[in-house]
């Protein structure tokens, strides 16, 4: 080979290696926080303090034991026994069982959304859980399922065809015939909702293969008992239980990687079930008013607007406040009282001549069975005017000889008055206001109390205060009621009101129990629009209409205006699908999110260098010096003024964490994910992955403030042991429909249950120094088109339902982090929604912490950096490029207004972080270098070496191929 050819080849190799190395170096730097985290550098070497276990290996092992024990406990207390004809608990000699259902070998431990990775060596599947629980299982069938190659998904129920059960497999049933334990599963995850219809029937209905399986079990005649276990959060249609002679049914949701023994303990009676549903189990999951408008809807446009990225989809919440049980129970009351043509067939199951609660609902919200039998009596409800709270006293009696835990659920029926009807205020017939869980000894009696803020039973009226809007309390009679779920509580209220014709969720006649009801009359002469005119969290702030433009009627042409569901006229207003919506000029204009213009009076950045930023203080202030400094203290301005534009751009950019700011000695910090447990690894002991707990609906289904708090505490401890000071979790969007795919990250269909559960969790996490970016605020109730979908809803539903859990997270829960959602609220992208972030969160809720957006960097049109910052976004999630954009924008435009917003964002971020475990772990005088990590220096060195080598090869090629050739030519 000629020398020049060789050097040409080597030049190619050199250029290839150098370009590759350079690209990978950029990649590594863009993901520096991942690498730092993996190398244990994510908190600049800080060991986070604040653990009750002691931050060492010994403490770690104690924590691991507690976490794994808790996984079992939460399933024991969160799993819901829906049906039991006496088959459970199993007798001591019923231990030869067959685990039926392909999904028994393919458990959905949690959803596919952000969360922990499993530790396979410690994971507990059903096989292990049953064997450890003393069972002999039909191993041949279980192994066959494992090999089936079929798994549940968003478009498949994951059940094998009946032909799977060969004669050989059927022959194995005889030896394991004490109980047929059948597992059905339904799957939800991030990004995509499940198909509404699979094999010609609702996805959440029993599929043909599942039906055939139950039929085969029945036909075999070999099994003494049939127990169905429901795996997954999405509530299945359960009208098949009687048809197929199912003796008992247990829902446990997504059990996490280590919790399944809890479900087995319930079957054996080692644990007494005490969970209650967090969602209504409907017989026809497609029938609810919310389901009428759920999914994929596309605007029609005139012509073809140039830029429509993330601006073509919409969804309309025509059901208003009638979400979940608030619909089913309210309609039931109106049927019983013959009001508002509630009995019409609108929304009724096909073939029914009138709407009937028992035909629509298989298990109500709040329902759950126990092996104990309890009676409850509402002794009194007293109002404390000084605290503006009610306290209910309840006596719980266990009438059998098995000790257990009983949930006391307190509901209220507020009056639905003529004022409400005239002013368009909707009222649910029953709504949860509080709960507690008590230990009740065998044959014992305990008295307990439930206290709640009266504010929680106020209704939002957009016409109050001369159409300014506000919360109101109606004049009239209020009914407080307790019961095993919303339906029983409502029946108790109806009994008190003297109604007849009551029936339970099975359609069985009932009389209700007036001993479970207390009346309250606030003695108002008229509707009270004044008491909650001011925010309960800041008396200087007026609560008034802020979401008029989230209502489709604000934007739509006259012929496209909609009517929200009202109990005044169930038939006439039962939602129809909004299948076409024309994007008129106002809508097209409103969809654009890149609106920021530099104000004319914006100060100059350059001219103010050294005055408003880059200020050289005589006594520099470090990050840690700001610990415990109140938010309003002017010292914050002085502290922030030291920082340069480059410094200010560091902390707004999250790349799975925030880099260090050397100027003020702020260490780097990671931001972990997720709602189902931490996506992180421990830094102690065996350094395993953090714990995958049962998902949030199961935690919430415990209906136990203590359990929810303990979950938050253990989660917070795990964060300390894995070096995490901030996490994107938990989620608290309302589970608006049964098909919301991300339900496992959320809590409940009910705003108040979510309000309590999320605030319990966050308060506990914060007690361990963990900042939780509670997500996704707000109205992110479907995954379909989640990025940019225009979500239309009326202000009453936004206030009372969709925002309430977030309000609880930031107020009662003392949260210092929140994540906005991908969708638009009305037409406004949540992360540019100034009204939501500035007026509601920071104004009405007096929130001082940071706000992060949901990870997205797709479109300037949809999510412009400047508009997001000005709107109130402080941190750009997984979007390191925003820092560069911001710096370039401010430099280019010399926009002091944006600089001020940037300074405010930094203040919010630092304020939150200083109140995290990181703030509690730094000692004054600690130095944190914002410079290069050792691995970055190494990469630079390698780049230089290979760059020089490539250049050398090219030079040699030029010399041998051109210079020498020319020289030889000259010589000739």
């Amino acid at each position: 080979m000629k020398k020049s050819k060789l050097w040409l080849g080597l030049s190619g190799v050199g250029v290839f290696v150098f370009t590759l190395l350079l690209s990978l170096t950029i990649l590594a730097n863009n993901n520096a926080m991942y690498i730092n985290d993996a190398l244990g550098l994510s908190t600049s070497g800080l060991v986070l303090q604040g653990s009750a276990y002691g931050m060492n290996d010994e403490g770690y092992w104690k924590l691991i034991k507690d976490s794994y024990d808790f996984c079992v406990d939460e399933l024991e207390e969160g799993a819901v026994l829906l049906k039991n004809d006496g088959a459970l608990p199993l007798a001591a000699d019923e231990r030869n069982v067959t685990l039926f259902g392909n999904n028994s070998a393919h458990t959905i431990y949690r959803s596919g959304a952000g969360g922990p990775t499993p530790n396979p060596e410690f994971q507990v599947d059903l096989e292990k859980a049953f064997k450890d629980g003393g069972f002999s299982i039909n191993q041949k069938l279980y192994d066959a399922y494992k090999r089936s190659g079929t798994e549940v998904g968003l478009q498949t129920r994951g059940e094998v065809n009946i032909g799977f059960y060969t004669d050989e497999l059927k022959a194995t049933f005889d030896s394991y015939s004490d109980v047929a334990i059948v597992t059905f599963a339904r799957y939800g995850t991030e990004n995509t909702d499940p198909s509404k219809v699979v094999n010609g029937r609702p996805y959440l209905a029993l599929g043909p293969n599942e039906e055939a399986l139950l039929q085969m079990i029945n036909d075999s005649g070999k099994f003494d008992k049939i127990v169905v276990m429901l795996n997954g959060v999405l509530p299945m249609e359960l009208d098949f239980l009687d048809k197929y002679n199912v003796n008992a049914c247990l829902w446990y949701g997504n059990p996490g990687y280590y919790g399944l023994p809890g479900a087995v303990n319930i079957l054996t009676g080692a644990a007494n079930p005490s969970g209650h549903t967090v969602e209504t189990f409907a017989n026809n999951t497609l029938n609810s008013p919310a389901m009428r408008n759920f999914g994929d809807y596309t605007y029609t446009f005139d012509g073809n607007p140039v830029d429509r990225t993330y601006g073509t989809k919409y969804v309309v919440y025509k059901e208003g406040i009638y979400v979940g049980y608030k619909y089913y129970e309210t309609r039931y009351e109106d049927c019983i009282l013959n009001a508002g043509n509630a009995k019409s067939t609108a929304g009724a199951t096909d073939g029914e001549t009138e709407w009937n609660y028992a035909k629509e609902v298989s298990f109500p919200f709040g329902f759950g069975l126990s092996y104990s039998t309890y009676t409850q009596k509402l002794d009194s409800v007293t109002y404390d005017a000084a605290k503006d709270t009610f306290t209910a006293k309840v006596t719980v009696k266990n009438t059998n000889n098995m000790a257990g835990k009983e949930v006391v659920q307190l509901y209220v029926q507020t009056p639905y008055t003529d004022y409400d009807k005239d002013h368009g205020v909707e009222k649910a017939a029953i709504q949860l206001v509080g709960y507690t869980k008590v230990d009740v000894p065998a044959n014992g009696t305990v008295t307990t109390e439930v206290t709640f803020d009266r504010y929680l039973m106020a209704s939002y009226d957009i016409t109050a205060n001369d159409n300014a809007g506000g919360y109101i309390l109606d004049a009239g009679k209020y009914y407080f009621a307790i019961g095993n779920g919303a339906h029983e509580a409502l029946n108790n209220v109806l009994a008190k009101k003297g109604a007849t014709g009551l029936y339970d969720h099975n359609g069985k006649e009932t009389t209700g129990d007036t001993a479970c009801v207390a009346e309250y009359d606030p003695a108002l002469s008229a509707t009270d629009t004044n008491t909650y005119k001011k925010s309960p969290y800041d008396k200087e702030v007026t609560v008034n209409n802020k979401f008029a433009d989230a209502d489709l009627n604000y934007w739509a042409d006259e012929d496209q205006k909609i009517t929200y569901l009202t109990r005044k006229d169930w038939e006439g207003t039962f939602p129809t699908e909004v299948t076409t919506l024309h994007a008129n000029e106002r809508i097209v204009k409103g969809l654009r999110m890149d609106r920021y213009k530099k104000p004319e009076d914006a100060p100059s950045v350059k001219a103010n260098k050294g005055k408003t930023h880059d200020v050289l203080l005589d006594e520099p202030i470090d990050f840690i010096d700001m610990k415990d400094v109140p938010y309003d203290d002017p010292k914050w301005d002085t502290f922030i003024s030291q920082m340069s534009l480059s410094d200010l751009c560091i902390s707004i950019a999250d790349s799975r964490g925030i880099a260090a700011v050397a100027t003020v000695n702020k260490p780097m910090n990671s931001i972990a994910e997720g709602p189902e447990g931490l996506l992180a690894k421990f830094k102690f002991g065996d350094k395993r992955c953090c714990t995958g707990f049962a998902t949030l609906p199961t935690v919430t289904a415990t209906w136990d403030h203590e359990m929810q708090t303990k979950f938050g505490q253990l989660y917070g401890e795990e964060a300390l042991f894995s070096g995490v000071a901030m996490v994107n979790a938990p989620g608290c969007n309302i589970i608006r429909t049964p098909y919301g795919s991300r339900a496992s990250e959320y809590l409940s269909e009910d705003a108040v249950l979510s309000y309590y559960s999320v605030s319990n969790i966050i308060k506990a996490m914060r007690s361990k120094g963990l900042i939780c970016n509670v997500k996704h605020c707000a109205l992110n109730n479907q995954e379909t088109n989640r990025q940019g979908v225009s979500t239309f809803a009326n202000e009453q539903s936004i206030r009372e339902i969709y925002l309430k859990p977030f309000e609880g997270a930031l107020t009662r829960g003392t949260g210092l982090g929140i994540m906005t959602s991908y969708n638009r609220i009305g037409l406004e992208y949540a992360a540019t929604h100034k009204v939501l972030m500035q007026d509601v969160m920071r104004g009405e809720w007096a929130y001082e912490g940071s706000i992060i957006d949901d990870a997205l960097s797709q479109s300037q049109y949809y999510c412009s950096t400047a508009d997001m910052l000005v709107g109130g976004t402080n941190i750009f999630c997984l979007d390191g490029n925003r820092a560069k954009q911001m710096k370039e924008l401010i430099t280019k435009t010399d926009d002091g207004n944006l600089l001020k917003e940037l300074q405010d964002a930094n203040k919010r971020i630092f304020y939150s972080l200083l109140r995290s475990s990181m703030g509690g772990s730094i000692t004054a005088g600690d130095k944190f270098d914002g410079g290069l990590m050792w691995w970055q220096s190494l990469l630079i060195a390698l780049n230089v070496i290979f760059g020089v080598a490539a250049a050398g090869a090219v030079a040699m090629y030029v010399v041998t191929g051109y210079v020498k050739k020319d020289t030889s030519k000259e010589a000739e």
């Binding site: 080979m1 050819k5 040409l8 080849g9 030049s11 190619g12 190799v13 250029v15 290839f16 370009t19 590759l20 350079l22 690209s23 990978l24 950029i26 990649l27 863009n30 993901n31 991942y34 596919g112 959304a113 952000g114 969360g115 990775t117 499993p118 995850t189 991030e190 990004n191 994910e673 997720g674 996506l679 990025q787 990870a855 997205l856 960097s857 797709q858 479109s859 997984l878 979007d879 490029n881 090219v954 090629y957 191929g961």
Partner: protein, 141 residues
């Protein structure tokens, strides 16, 4: 210009980069058609991958008519840079796949296809550097 003669005179180095460019063109078309959904939510401008590949293709078209000796090295730069762009856009999809989550969306399979296809293109161009662009060794520079 006698195209037939021009083609007849092409060396193995040319044909290798030509094959690489054909694969690059197909990959670029697939990228333009699929990158919006195939890449994770957390990245923008996925079409840049296709654009960089097309620059390589354009170079190939140019050297077909204006042969230069070190054309393969230019192809290596273009296609390796394209691979670098891919590598910078897909890590979240890869992380999601191995963490068994769908946190940032995207399609892991498609992302892997981009990576493998573009790397193959770059490697073929690299091999071409060891072979001549023309049979008679005549080039404009």
């Amino acid at each position: 210009m006698n195209v037939k003669e021009l083609i007849k005179n092409k060396g193995l180095g040319y044909w290798l980069t030509c094959g690489a460019s054909l694969l690059a063109l197909v990959t670029a078309i697939i990228v333009f058609a699929t990158s919006e959904t195939a890449l994770p939510n957390t990245v923008s401008n996925g079409w840049v991958i296709g654009l960089v590949l097309l620059i390589g293709v354009a170079v190939q078209v140019a050297v077909t008519f204006l042969p230069i000796r070190f054309a393969s090295v230019i192809s290596v730069i273009c296609y390796t840079a394209a691979f670098g762009v891919v590598a910078n856009k897909i890590p979240n999809a890869v992380a999601d796949y191995f963490n068994k989550v769908a946190y940032t969306g995207g399609n892991f399979g498609m992302c892997m296809f981009y990576a493998v296809a573009v790397l193959a293109v770059a490697l073929i161009a690299l091999v071409a550097c060891f072979f001549a662009q023309t049979k008679d060794g005549k080039t404009i520079i």
